[in-house]
């Protein structure tokens, strides 16, 4: 090993980190090189001087200051997030938990809001009907009369005009000068009674052949309304649900029509346009509903749907046409039946009857 190499290795040699081979070479060189031996001696003294440098003592406040900062750090660490998540030894994938939580919450909110929205619509629609002023009813009646006073149409054109089909034929004098609503309703009350009798008489009879609408308009008879009603019960045309036998009956039926529409909308079964509508005023719902169910079952029909409510109960019934008359008679024994112009028609096909039970404010239980 050369002189310079030995000088560079002296530092390692002093620390004892030289390899055994290097150590032997250095020691061999040191025996012959006085300069390197002196350098080694000086280096050892230098290291001794450096190691002898006095150490300074830390001030007493330093540890306190350090611990104060560390405690502050520890307090800061225990925020709500750490306190919530650090106890878990296995760290949850927070995003996944959050997604599941949001999905479940959204599902339950959706489930809870659906029925609430349906219930909230019902009173609004009924309220709008209740608030309808009498004046409007008269105006609507006048509108129908005015439409009737329009330029005469050909029978073919009338057949195409759906609205014309619902207008019952009337005497020319009435068409020209319609009586006030009170007068009209009074004048046609006997007629309504006649219709009820006719309905009873036709209950057992076979169904009359269906007449064309043009024939109805050309041959106005007191029983025409019953025929139209029977057509409605056959559900041949969705637009034929509104009918009256005369302007007077029409005026009476107008609010009922609106009420039925509103109730149908509330029940959500507006799509069942061909159902026969029957309204029964009763003193209480539960027993009456049971009686109706018994009657329907007895006549071979079945209960399709029952929608109970605080104001009314709606029972949708499916029954054969030939049993419809008997059912209607039975219903009249149960309560006061509105829509008594129903005409039973014989047949085997099923008819949907929507029976609406309403509270009789006078407390009249039954009988009409």
């Amino acid at each position: 090993m050369e002189h310079n190499d030995v000088r560079h290795k002296l530092s390692e040699y002093i620390d004892g980190s030289s390899s055994l081979e290097e150590r032997e070479k250095i020691e061999t060189h040191l025996k012959t090189c006085a300069e390197c031996s002196e350098a080694l001696s000086e280096l050892r003294k230098t290291i001794e001087h450096v190691k002898a440098v006095e150490e300074i003592e830390p001030p007493a406040w330093m540890k306190q200051k350090i611990m104060a900062k560390v405690r502050e750090e520890a307090t800061k660490k225990k925020g709500w997030f750490e306190r919530f998540f650090l106890p878990f030894s296995v760290k949850f994938p927070i995003q996944a938990v959050a997604v599941v939580f949001l999905a479940v919450t959204a599902f339950y909110i959706y489930r809870s809001m659906q029925p609430a929205s349906m219930q909230s619509e019902t009173p609004i629609q009924e309220f709008s009907f209740v608030k309808e002023p009498v004046k409007d009813k008269l105006a609507k009646t006048d509108d129908h009369a005015a439409r009737a006073r329009r330029a005469p149409q050909t029978p073919e054109y009338k057949a195409l005009d759906m609205k014309q089909e619902y207008e019952a034929p009337m005497a020319p004098s009435r068409m020209n000068a319609p009586a006030p609503a009170e007068e009209r309703s009074a004048a046609h009350q006997p007629m309504a009674a006649e219709e009820a009798i006719a309905a009873k008489s036709q209950a057992g009879a076979p169904a009359a052949p269906q007449q064309s609408l043009s024939d109805e308009s050309s041959q106005p008879t007191p029983n025409k309304a019953l025929d139209v009603m029977s057509q409605k019960s056959r559900a041949t045309d969705a637009n034929r649900e509104e009918f009256t036998a005369s302007p007077g009956l029409k005026a009476e039926a107008e609010p009922h029509k609106h009420a039925k529409k509103a109730k149908k909308a509330a029940r959500g079964d507006e799509g069942d346009e061909n159902a026969v509508e029957v309204t029964i005023k009763v003193s209480e719902f539960d027993n009456t509903a049971k009686e109706i169910e018994k009657a329907v079952t007895a006549f071979g029909g079945k209960i399709v749907r029952t929608v109970p409510s605080t104001d009314n109960n709606a029972i949708t019934v499916s029954i054969k046409e030939d049993k419809l008359a008997e059912l209607l008679l039975k219903l009249k024994t149960i309560g006061k039946v509105d829509g008594n112009s129903l005409t039973p028609v014989g047949g085997d096909r099923l008819v949907v009857v929507r029976i609406t039970l309403t509270k009789n404010k006078q407390g009249v239980a039954a009988g009409c």
């Binding site: 560079h8 002296l10 530092s11 390692e12 620390d15 980190s17 000086e42 280096l43 003294k45 230098t46 290291i47 001087h49 450096v50 190691k51 002898a52 440098v53 006095e54 150490e55 300074i56 003592e57 830390p58 001030p59 330093m62 540890k63 200051k65 350090i66 611990m67 900062k69 560390v70 405690r71 750090e73 520890a74």
Partner: protein
């Protein structure tokens, strides 16, 4: 490690882990307790290591107040990141690395501050090599008389202070704190050969400095 050196050292190399198998860390129990949230255990670690860390910082920065600040920051940083310490190196090595890095950063700030301050006759000057060096001691007899009155320790400290930070680090860590070459290499992120080379040069410079100051060793 971040450039400012405030973060603790990353996972140390495997050789240290293998060395630890032969020489287990005496602070392992306290460290484990701190990782479970025991502040008293950390206080014990502070009590045990604060003097050593302060002396390292003081020899590197050569300013007592700054060194105290550095040591406080080093312990707080160590506590903040104690959960990332996996015991692959001794806690002392880990803590010293934090202290050295913070000291180096602080030294840069102190030097830049001193450059802006008014020139002092006692302050070190910049040489052509770009290193800060003490003024060469004058050979005049009057100065030698004054130097003889100085304590030898003060002279040694002056010589150490005159070293460049790279050489001062290895000298302080090896000759004053007696860390091994491997540990110093891990702390400074240099290979052991570089540590040996720097240490040889640092010792030679201090020797020459002392010879100039004291005439002979």
């Amino acid at each position: 490690m971040s450039p400012n050196g405030t973060n603790p050292p990353a996972i140390l190399s495997n050789p240290i882990g293998s060395r630890l198998q032969d020489n287990p860390d005496p602070d392992a129990g306290l460290v484990a307790a701190v990782q479970q949230g025991d502040l008293n255990a950390f206080e014990s670690l502070v009590t045990k290591h604060q003097k050593r860390m302060l002396n390292i910082a003081f020899r590197l920065i050569d300013d007592h107040d700054e060194a105290c600040e550095v040591v406080q920051d080093a312990f707080v940083s160590a506590y903040r990141h104690i959960r990332t310490f996996r015991g692959e190196a001794k806690f002392t090595t880990w803590l010293t690395t934090i202290t050295v890095n913070l000291s180096k950063n602080r030294l840069k700030q102190v030097r830049s501050r001193k450059v802006r301050e008014a020139y002092s006759l006692d302050a070190p000057v910049r040489t052509d090599e770009g290193e800060l060096a003490m003024d060469a001691p004058s050979p005049e007899p009057s100065i030698l008389d004054r130097m003889e009155k100085q304590d030898i320790r003060t002279r040694v400290q002056d010589c150490i202070r005159s070293l460049d930070s790279d050489f001062r680090e290895v000298l302080v860590l090896r000759d004053m704190q007696e860390f091994s070459y491997d540990e110093i290499g891990d702390m400074l992120k240099v290979v052991p050969g570089t540590v040996k080379s720097r240490l040889f040069r640092a010792r030679e410079m201090v020797k020459e400095c002392l010879k100039q100051l004291m005439g002979e060793l």
